[in-house]
């Protein structure tokens, strides 16, 4: 029988993907709870924290830079350091890098545009709690919608990412070959931390659950957390 997850979905001023995220996990049979940024504690007995997309604090100063100091982020940091699973999508990814829970940083897209479209992604590593239902080299079709998705990490950090199999996804063509979308180092679209319990990606799997809306590849990604 499928395990029912209890998912905490964070909400900051300016978050706008919290309901999509709840819809996605509830469609998969899980329970969700919104958590306000001023809350100092996460709900009890949760299986996953999702930091959803949006424009927390208007993206002022840098995307995610102010949200990371919210009271709830202290609880998330403790939860993550204790091995709890955390998924950051889009602005959530930016918040997790700003908080130091994920390495690197997200800069303005190279072409300075807000890019909003369906994008192919190649699965680079699947030996983790997120992409375990996807195959290595598999191509997924997932929407992206961001202005600051240009992932940067220095050479030393990049080597570590590669060696520890922390690179999750790259922007690719339909054959899985990397393509330049926003200027990210080696076309990286998503990564995890060294302990493989904190995940971040710019694309929106929660927007890819119905074939009629262009793709249902997001289901396989999010269901990974059931394992």
């Amino acid at each position: 029988m499928q395990k029912t997850l209890k998912v905490a979905v964070l909400r900051f001023p300016g978050t706008n993907c919290e309901f999509d995220t709840q819809y996605a996990f509830e469609k998969l049979g899980h329970t969700t709870e919104l958590v306000w940024h001023e809350d100092e504690n996460l709900p009890a007995d949760i299986d996953l924290v999702v930091v959803p997309g949006g424009f927390s604090y208007g993206d002022y100063l840098r995307s995610g830079s102010i949200a990371r100091f919210s009271p709830v982020m202290k609880a998330v940091t403790t939860y993550a350091n204790d091995g709890g699973k955390v998924l950051g999508i889009c602005n959530g990814f930016q918040i997790l890098t700003e908080a130091g829970l994920l390495p690197g940083a997200l800069k303005r897209n190279n072409d300075l545009h807000f890019i909003s479209k369906h994008q192919n992604l190649c699965v680079i590593n699947n030996d983790n709690a997120f992409l375990n239902l996807c195959e290595k080299g598999e191509v997924l079709n997932i929407p992206i919608a961001h202005a600051d998705g240009n992932y940067y990490i220095d050479d030393e950090g990049f080597k570590k990412l590669e060696e520890n199999e922390q690179i999750l996804l790259r922007y690719s063509n339909e054959n899985g070959e990397p393509v330049v979308v926003n200027g990210s180092v080696t076309s990286i679209a998503g990564i995890c931390n060294e302990a493989k319990n904190v995940f971040g990606l710019m694309p929106h799997p929660e927007r890819a659950l119905e074939a009629i809306l262009g793709s249902e590849d997001g289901i396989r990604m999010l269901k990974g957390f059931e394992a």
């Binding site: 100063l61 840098r62 830079s65 102010i66 100091f69 890098t97 700003e98 690197g104 940083a105 800069k107 303005r108 897209n109 190279n110 072409d111 300075l112 240009n150 940067y152 990490i153 220095d154 200027g183």
Partner: protein, 80 residues
């Protein structure tokens, strides 16, 4: 009162997409003397201390904590 002027820029070696776009625009306007353009931000902070050293130490901490992301950015501080 002390005024601190903080300048935050992307580090050398980290591609600055905005600077590059401005550079291209300057090139196409005929300003062919331009070697490089970097765009950053300036943050002006007024502190209610008159102790310059104290102000500088405090502003440095603000930069390290919030105002700059030292993974990709450098900063300078001027105390006036």
């Amino acid at each position: 009162m002390t005024k601190a002027v903080v300048n935050v820029f992307l580090k050398d070696g980290v591609l600055d997409p905005q600077g590059k776009a401005a550079h291209h625009a300057l090139d196409s306007l005929g300003f062919d003397s331009v070697d490089d353009v970097r765009i950053g931000k300036q943050i002006i902070i007024k502190l209610h201390t008159d102790d310059r050293a104290e102000a500088e130490a405090e502003v440095k901490e603000m930069c390290e904590t919030l105002l700059a992301n030292t993974v990709i950015e450098d900063y300078t501080i001027e105390i006036n």
